[in-house]
C-alpha cells in the first residue's frame, strides 16, 4: 500500500479531487453506455417478439415495413 491510512488515500496529498473526479466520470460514463446498450438490446428483442407474435398480419403491413428505421431510445 502506498498510503498510510484511508484518509491519506482519499486526500492523495491534495490531488484527491482531481484523481477522484476522473475515476468517477470514467466509471459513470462506461457504466452508462453499458447499461444503455444492454437495455437497447432487450428492447429490440421484445419489439421483434411482439411483431412475430402477431404474425396474422401480412409481411408488408405498415408495422413490419419500416422496422429497419425504428431506433429505440435515441437519447
Amino acid at each position: 500500500m502506498a498510503f498510510d491510512s484511508l484518509g491519506a488515500f482519499i486526500a492523495m496529498e491534495g490531488h484527491g479531487p482531481y484523481v477522484w473526479t476522473c475515476y468517477f466520470v470514467f466509471f459513470l460514463l462506461m457504466g452508462a453506455i453499458s447499461l444503455w446498450s444492454l437495455r437497447q438490446r432487450r428492447f429490440v428483442i421484445e419489439q421483434q417478439r411482439r411483431r412475430t407474435g402477431s404474425r396474422a398480419m401480412p409481411d408488408n403491413s405498415p408495422a413490419g415495413a419500416n422496422f429497419t428505421r425504428i431506433e429505440p431510445s435515441q437519447d
Partner: protein, 247 residues
C-alpha cells in the same frame, strides 16, 4: 481463408459466436481493469515529480489508446464495406462509433483534469490536444452522417468514406508530440523500447489497457447484436431466436 472471411460476413454466425464470447470478454476484462486500477491507485508508488496526480494515468492512457484503436478498427471496417460490401463491417462501424466517442471524451476530460495540477492549465491548443478534439468530432460526424441518410446502402458507403478520410488524423495524433513543439509529453509506452517508467507502474497500466480493450470487445459484440437484430428482423433465424429467448 476466404471461407472464414465469408463466414464472418454472416450475421447469424457472428451472433452465435458473439453470445459465446461476451461473458468472457466482460468478466475477464472487468477483472483486469479493476485489478489494474486498484493496483495503480493504492499500491503503485507515487511519481517523484507529479506526486499522486499521475494516478490519473491508469484511466487516461487506456481511454486515449482505445479511442485511437477503435477508430483504426472502424477504418478497416470502412475499407471492407467499400471494397467487399460486407454488411457486418457497417454494423461494426455503427455499433462502436458512440463507444469511441465516449472513450475520446474520457481521454480529453481526464487529460484536462490531470493538466490543471501538473501543467497549470485545463486546456491548451497544442497539436496533441487539438488533434484529439478533432477525433471526437470525427466520431460525432460518423454518428450524425449515419443517422442522416436513411437508405441503408448509401448510408453505409457515405459513413465508410468519412471514416477512411478521417483516419489521416490518427498518425497526426500519434506523432504530434514528435513533429511539433507541444505541451503534452511524448509517449511513455513505445512498441520498440522499454517503457520509461518502472514495472510497478507500467504493469498496472498495461492491465487496465488490456482490461478496457476486452470490455470494449464486449460492448462491441453487444451493440452489434442489437444492430443485427434490427436489420435482420425479417429473417427466419432472428424470428426463431427472439421466440426462443423470450420463453
Amino acid at each position: 481463408m476466404w471461407q472464414i472471411f465469408h463466414k464472418l460476413g454472416s450475421p447469424k454466425w457472428f451472433f452465435g459466436i458473439a453470445s459465446k464470447l461476451m461473458p468472457w470478454l466482460l468478466w475477464v476484462g472487468a477483472a483486469m481493469l479493476v485489478a489494474g486500477i486498484v493496483w495503480g491507485l493504492g499500491f503503485a508508488p507515487k511519481d517523484y515529480l507529479q506526486g499522486n496526480s499521475y494516478r490519473i494515468i491508469f484511466i487516461h492512457v487506456p481511454a486515449a489508446f482505445l479511442a485511437q484503436s477503435v477508430y483504426i478498427m472502424m477504418a478497416v471496417a470502412g475499407l471492407v464495406t467499400l471494397v467487399w460490401r460486407m454488411k457486418l463491417a457497417d454494423v461494426f462501424v455503427r455499433a462502436v462509433a458512440p463507444v469511441g466517442a465516449i472513450l475520446t471524451f474520457l481521454a480529453l476530460f481526464t487529460g484536462a483534469v490531470w493538466g490543471k495540477p501538473t501543467w497549470g492549465t485545463w486546456w491548451i491548443w497544442d497539436a496533441r490536444l487539438t488533434s484529439m478534439l478533432i477525433l471526437l468530432f470525427l466520431y460525432f460526424g460518423v454518428m450524425a452522417l449515419g443517422a442522416a441518410i436513411s437508405d441503408e446502402k448509401s448510408s453505409a458507403r457515405a459513413v465508410a468514406v468519412l471514416v477512411l478520410v478521417g483516419v489521416v488524423n490518427i498518425p497526426i495524433i500519434k506523432y504530434s508530440v514528435e513533429w511539433w513543439n507541444t505541451l503534452h509529453q511524448p509517449a511513455t509506452f513505445k512498441l520498440t523500447e522499454k517503457p520509461s517508467m518502472p514495472a510497478e507502474m507500467w504493469v498496472p497500466l498495461l492491465l487496465s489497457v488490456l482490461g478496457l480493450y476486452l470490455i470494449f470487445g464486449w460492448l462491441a459484440c453487444l451493440r452489434m447484436q442489437t444492430e443485427i437484430l434490427v436489420r435482420e428482423g425479417r429473417t427466419r433465424w432472428v424470428k426463431e431466436l427472439v421466440q426462443a429467448r423470450g420463453n
